[in-house]
Every structure is written in C-alpha cells, then in structure tokens.
C-alpha cells in the first residue's frame, strides 16, 4: 500500500511493484492516474489504448474469485479509471477539469455573456417555456418552433466560435507547460470565462432541445 501523498505526476502508478492494484488516494488527479502531463492537448489514441489495457487489468469481472479486499480495490480503481477516461477523452471536459485543477471550480460569475447574446438567451428561454407549457394553435406553435430552431442555430454557432478560442488558449497553455512554466494568469482567466460561458450556453441548448423534443 502506498503511504506517500502523491503530488508529482511521475510518481503514481495504479499498480505496485508486484502488479497488484494500489489504494488510490483522492489526491491523485486524472492526469496522474494515466501518467499524463497536465496539458490541454493529449495523445487521445494513446489514452484509449491505455484505457483498454487498464480495463482488462482492473475490471471487477476479473476479481470475482479474488479475496474481498482485492475486489474492493478493483471496484474503486475501475470507477476511477472510467471517470478519468470520460473526463480526459473529451477536449471540453478535459479543459474544464484542467482549469479547475489549476485555479478552482468554475463559477457562474466567471462568465459575462455579451449583451446581444444575453438577449438571445432570454428570448430562447421564453420561447421554450411557452412552447412547452401553453396551448398554442397551429400557427403559433409553428412560429415558436421556428424561433427555437433559429435560437438553436445561433447557440451552435456560438459554440463553434468558442472552439477556436479554446484551441488558441490551449496551445498557449501547453507551450508554457512544455517550457516548464506555470500557465499565464491571463490565459487561465480567459479560459475560465470561455468555458463557463460555454457551460451556460450548453444548459440553454439543453432546454431548447428538450422543448423541441417534447412537443
């Protein structure tokens, strides 16, 4: 059992020297779990290979006849593996995780949507609510649906724009890490703002989609 508190990304291994599963403390982050550097851009194919390899070694299916302590280690380690993989394989989830790891949880007030976007958001929320709850005649329903579709398009376009911004910021982040430096404060701030705005837009999109689906 590993008794040292794991901070450095290089020292953690899921398995001990005998190939047995270790107790994984909550101080081990997802990057450390996969022995990856804390960067925005990662080798996604390599991650998948490692995920499958670890799954074959950690999954509870292979510990049915093992002593119960090993079964529990397998369960906890598999749960960690799946959470870590889900977070790291998706570029957005990965970016949010990394930014939160460096600078704390994203809050709603990290983002300040531009005024025109805010207006779009309010309009969409109103349309979604009306479309869902009210008895609309056919013409009205058609109009509302068209409004919702338009709003959806606008938000999807917004997200595409954010994607480019995220890539640029991500590249600057990684450059700093490669140089052995901390990511610049300005990059962190802008990432926080873009990511939390994205989160905000995702929520709106979700309710717009739900309204469209339900009606």
């Amino acid at each position: 059992m590993n008794q040292t508190r794991v901070k450095s990304r290089d020292t953690f291994s899921v398995f001990d020297e005998n190939g047995e599963i270790q107790l994984i403390s909550s101080s081990v982050d997802h990057f450390a779990f996969f022995s990856l550097p804390r960067k925005m851009e990662i080798d996604e194919a390599g991650l998948e290979t490692k995920y499958y390899e670890y799954s074959r070694r950690l999954h509870p299916d292979f510990f049915t006849n093992a002593p119960s302590s090993k079964r529990i280690l397998s369960l906890d380690a598999s749960a960690r593996l799946n959470s870590a993989y889900k977070t790291l394989k998706d570029p957005i989830l990965r970016a949010v995780y990394l930014v939160e790891l460096e600078s704390g949880k994203l809050e709603e007030n990290d983002s300040s949507p531009p005024v025109d976007l805010l207006e779009e958001i309010f309009k969409a929320q109103e349309a979604a609510a009306e479309y869902k709850c009210c008895e609309n005649d056919a013409v009205e329903a058609k109009n509302l649906r068209a409004n919702l579709e338009a709003a959806k398009e606008c938000f999807v376009a917004q997200r595409a724009g954010q994607r480019t911004a995220l890539e640029d910021l991500g590249a600057r982040w990684d450059k700093a890490i490669d140089a052995g430096e901390d990511p610049p404060a300005e990059v962190i701030d802008r990432l926080r703002s873009v990511l939390s705005l994205r989160n905000y837009i995702d929520n709106i999109l979700r309710s717009v989609n739900q309204a469209l689906e339900e009606a």
Binding site: L23, S25, S55, T64, S68, S78, A79
Partner: protein, 607 residues
C-alpha cells in the same frame, strides 16, 4: 467455488443457461421445454410455477400471478393504471412497494420472482447433479436502481448469490460475440414481453463497449396484448370493467391471436362464457387489422432508438449490424420498422428468446475466470442527481457513463450547529425532481459547527451492476460521516431478512447456505469499510505497526471466506473489528462517538 449459472428472468418466460464444453447452452429437464413461463399460481394446497400453472388456470386466474417483472422496484402509484388488465389483486395499502395478493397473503414482487428463480435453480441443480449458489441475472438495460436492487433481492430470497446484474441487450451481444458475428458498431433492439431496450455498442478486440442505451421499461408484447384485448372487448360489445376474470381471458385470447398472426395472415378468436358471462364470442382478425392496432405502440420504440444514436455519437448509417432480441421482434411489423430505421436488414441468427440467457452464461463464464479475452463495459442508463434548491435536479452522474463509476460532491450546512444534511437522490433526465424517479433519501451526520463550515464529501458509486452506494466523510477531520439511506421504493434490508426467514424451507442445507451467505455479505462490507478508511484517513494517521495488524486481520477474514464455516467468518470479522477499533475511535468525533458507542467502524462507515 462452484458453478455460476446464467438466468434470463423474463416478463413472460424465464430460462437458464450454463457454460458447457462446446459453449453456452440453455438447459431443460428431459422432455420439458427450456422456457419456464414466469407465472406463479397459488392453489389451495400448493404453489405452482411455470408450465404447471396452465392446468386450471382459467378457474384460478385471480390467484395466478404473471408479468411480475413489470412491478419490480415500483410503487403502487406507478402501476395503478395497469390494474385494469390484471386479474390478480394488488394491495393498495402498501405504497412504497408493490405487493400482490393471493389467497389472503400479500407477496412483494421480489418474493414472487424468487419463487420462479427457485424453480430455475432446482432445474439446473437436477441437471448438474449438484447444488448451485451463484448466478448472473439479466435485466432490461433501462432498469433503474430500485428495479436492479429488487432483482438482486429476489435472487437472495431464492438462495442465490447474484454475482452480477447484466443488461439484456449487452448479454445478447456477448452471445453473438462468441460467434464472431459482431464487429464494429452494433445496435441491439430488444423488445420483450414487458420491456424495450436499445443498446449501441462498439466491439473491438474482445472489448464490448456500450456507447449508449435507451428504452422503456413499460413497453412490450404485453401492451400489444392489452390493446388487442381492448379492441376485442369493444367488438364483443360487453361491459367487463367489474369482471377481471373476463378481461383476463380476453387478454389471453389476444396473446394467442398475436402469435398466430406472426405466421399466418388471418386467425379466429373464440371465447365461450369468459369469466362466467353468457357471452359467446367469435371474431376473425387479419394481420393487417392487428398491425393497425399495435403500430402506435410499436412506434414508441423509435424515439429511444434515435436518442441512443445521438448519445452514442453515431448516425444510423454507421451501424454495422442490427441484432434483434426478444419474442416481440418476431412480429413482422416490428422487423420492418427496425429495418426502416437503420436502413439495413436486422438479423436474429440466434434464437431471440434464448440469446439473452446464453449471454448471461457467457458473462458467468467470464466471472468464473473461464474466459479472459472478452470484457463487457456497460453504462448506467439514467442520469443520477440530487434535489437542489427549488426542486431542481443537481446532476451528479450523467446517463451513458461507463460503470463502475464514482463521483464526489462536497456538502455544507446552512444553519449553525446543524447536525444533519438531508440528501434526496433521484434518477432521470428531466430538469425538475418531480418528473424524475426518487431513489432514496439519506441524512449525513455532521459535527456541530457554524453555518457553512462543515465540509462533507459524499461519494456516489455506481457498481458494475448499475447499483448505487453512498459513502461520506468529513473533509475537515478526515473522519467518516454516517449515511442512513432510506430507499424510496422497494424493500429495506430488514424486510428482505424477514422474508428470507419466512421463505426458507428449514432444510438444514438451506439454513447453512444462508448463514454462510449472510456472513460473507457482512465480511465484504467490513473489509470495504476498513480499506476505504485506510485510503482516506490512513496516510497520516495510522502507524506502520497498526496498519500491519489491520491488514493481517483483513487477510484473516479473507482466509475464513474460503471456508463454508459461517462461525469462523464471524469470528474473524470480530477480530478485524477489534483491531480497527482504535482507528474508529479516532475517526469519530466526540458527539458521534456518544451516539455510536456500541457501533463499530464498519457500521458507521457502510452505505
């Protein structure tokens, strides 16, 4: 450790498969059908199960329980509207779980399922010539936590250790996987007697990775029968609201007609004096007429399919193979609909009624260590969340997350010296909790402190069965916090215990098996609690010497577990509790300590 059997506990039929030399095979006693109808009939002097319930079923229709799977893990309010088509009685007094009434006694859904499981167990034991204690049981992929737990409870009541709950469509894909029929991205469309599932998987190098799953646990062949029965009742022009026997007979006749119309284009329904009425009913029905009646129901499977594709991130055209599972996929209309949706002919090379049980046997073989090249990575079908301010859903784990998975959340207090935080856990996709399924409520025990000072970390863990457990600790002290979980639907542990006592036939072997099972379960939870305490608290607070004595005691428990000696297991658990006692003491705050003087570490920490 003995055999592990695969069980398909179906709405209409149940069956068992085991792994044999040549591969998985379904088993049946000489001269009998492999399918055991999932029907339990309470007669004056005995309880009949399966095929035997057919004789005299019409006379005993009110004491004959079928489709019990639809009631697993549900409350009375959920099933109220289904009662119209059910000839047996549901106890309206019990709100938190469905109890059926037969011959003056109330039975929970897991108890009825356990009767079916016991029949299956005795079949396989006769076939193998030895006792069987461990099983894999399949459930619809879309089953929620309570329904899975109810299935596990049923196994326990039948004297089976349920090693794994496997999703039916994924089990089917494992059976196909053996035949190397499935590569790339596959869709499994599973329409059974009572439930519908769609699963999208990627199969790569022996890993069966479920990308998304969707479904409806109240949509299946039974609904076709009921719609057809309503049509026939209307044609007969009789009033049968007050005559459950008559409705029951119409439903049985509808089911027969549906089967015949799968092969033929026309059939005739004949009913003489159903339920003691003076009615003499004779009616021709064509396949086209039937399709018109059932197609609105069959179409309800399409939306979950589309959603699963979106969740999986694949287009219908990217699906390499479509597999049909479940008896209702024999209906030509259903096959056409599926072919249209995916733009390719679905296949069902393996018998759609047997393939799930075969897959369960494959999973059993994997668990037994027989197969190491195949691995199933399944997902949780429903999002998990907790109630937040204003009745909104606070998301914790999203649907289609690969299991096992865990998520930690930190909670605090709003009032000074608050000693508990109420947490309400739900499953579902809607934004408001009132539209989702309540799973459980629990209270976190907290040391008194000024408002907002407490920091309680709660870990929500969904295991490989898709079943949730909750643990908590106080982040300021590292101490374990108590979690007292009250399930919203279904049975508490104490209720299952009591049913176990009632159900065992007092044969010595049964009692012994049960005692060993119970001791094992307790040992597991004590060892789990100990390891997690070491993980969360042990890094800085446990000396090498203490750690060595704790791990020594853990090994002692594990050695005892290899025996069939429940007393030895209990002794070793006590020994472990003794060496962890000082650690438990240090972990408990004074207040908690007072409240829990007689409780041990394991109890304070377990779910």
């Amino acid at each position: 450790m003995g055999d592990i059997i695969g069980i398909d506990l179906g709405t209409t039929n149940s069956l068992i498969a085991i792994m044999e030399e040549g591969g998985p095979s379904v088993i049946a006693p000489e001269g009998e059908n492999v399918f055991v109808p999932s029907v339990v009939s309470f007669r004056s002097d005995r309880v009949l199960v399966g095929e035997k319930t057919r004789t005299g079923r019409a006379e005993h229709i009110r004491d004959t329980i079928f489709s019990i799977k639809r009631f697993m893990g549900r409350g009375f309010i959920d099933v109220e509207e289904e009662l119209r088509h059910i000839p047996f009685k549901i106890d309206p007094e019990c709100k938190e779980a469905v109890y059926v009434k037969a011959r003056g006694r109330a039975y929970s859904a897991p108890e009825i399922s356990a009767i079916i499981l016991r029949e299956l167990k005795s079949r396989v034991e006769k076939h193998l010539g030895r006792r069987v204690q461990r099983a894999v049981i399949t459930v619809p992929a879309h089953f929620n936590d309570a329904q899975r737990q109810a299935t596990k409870d049923a196994g326990r009541l039948a004297g089976l250790e349920v090693l794994r709950i496997v999703n039916e469509p994924t089990a089917a894909s494992l059976a196909y996987g053996l035949h190397d029929r499935n590569r790339g991205v596959i869709a499994v469309y599973d329409l059974g007697g009572g439930t519908f599932d769609i699963s999208v998987l990627r199969v790569k190098e022996g890993i069966f990775e479920v990308l998304a799953t969707g479904g409806d646990t109240r949509l299946g062949g039974d609904d076709f029968d009921c719609a057809l029965a309503d049509y026939l009742i209307e044609r007969a022009g009789v009033r049968v609201e007050e005559n459950p026997e008559a409705v029951g007979q119409f439903v049985l006749a509808a089911e027969r007609a549906k089967r015949e119309l799968t092969e033929k284009n026309e059939t005739e329904i004949v009913l003489e004096n159903p339920g003691g009425t003076s009615l003499s009913f004779r009616e021709k029905l064509t396949r086209a007429e039937m399709e018109k009646i059932i197609s609105p129901i069959a179409e309800r499977t399409l939306a979950p399919c589309r959603r699963a594709l979106v969740d999986a991130g694949v287009a219908a055209s990217e699906i390499d193979e479509v597999v049909l599972v479940g008896g209702s996929t024999r209906i030509p209309l259903v096959r056409h609909m599926v072919a249209d949706l995916f733009g390719k002919e679905p296949h069902s090379d393996l018998n759609p009624d047997e393939v799930v049980a075969l897959g369960a046997a494959v999973q059993a073989d994997i668990l037994a260590g027989g197969r190491k090249d195949m691995l199933l990575l399944d997902v949780t079908p429903l999002s998990l969340g907790i109630e937040t301010v204003g009745g909104a859903m606070g998301w914790i784990i999203s649907r289609n997350t690969t299991i096992p998975t865990s998520q930690r959340e930190v909670f605090t207090t709003f009032k000074d010296n608050q000693t508990g935080v109420d947490i309400h856990v739900l499953q579902g996709e809607r934004e408001l909790i009132k539209d989702n399924r309540s799973l459980a409520r629990f209270v976190l025990g907290i040391d008194p402190a000024p408002a907002g000072m407490a920091r309680i970390e709660v870990t929500f863990l969904i295991d490989a069965n898709g079943i949730l457990s909750v643990t908590a600790r106080d982040l300021r002290s590292g101490k374990a916090a108590s979690v007292d979980v009250q399930p919203s639907y279904g049975l508490t542990d104490e209720q299952v215990e009591r049913m176990l006592l009632d159900s065992f036939e007092n044969a010595e072997a049964d009692i012994h098996a049960r005692q060993v099972l119970e001791a094992r379960t307790e040992a597991e939870s004590v060892v789990a609690a100990t390891l997690r305490a070491l993980r969360d608290y042990g890094e800085v607070n446990v000396s090498g010497e203490e750690r060595a004595s704790i791990t020594g005691a853990v090994s002692g428990v594990e050695r005892a577990l290899e025996s069939e000696d429940h007393q030895l297991i209990r002794d070793k658990i006590d020994a472990l509790n003794e060496v962890t006692h000082p650690l438990a003491e240090r972990m408990m705050d004074n207040v908690l300590k007072e409240a829990l003087t007689n409780k041990r570490l394991s109890e304070a920490m377990s779910e």
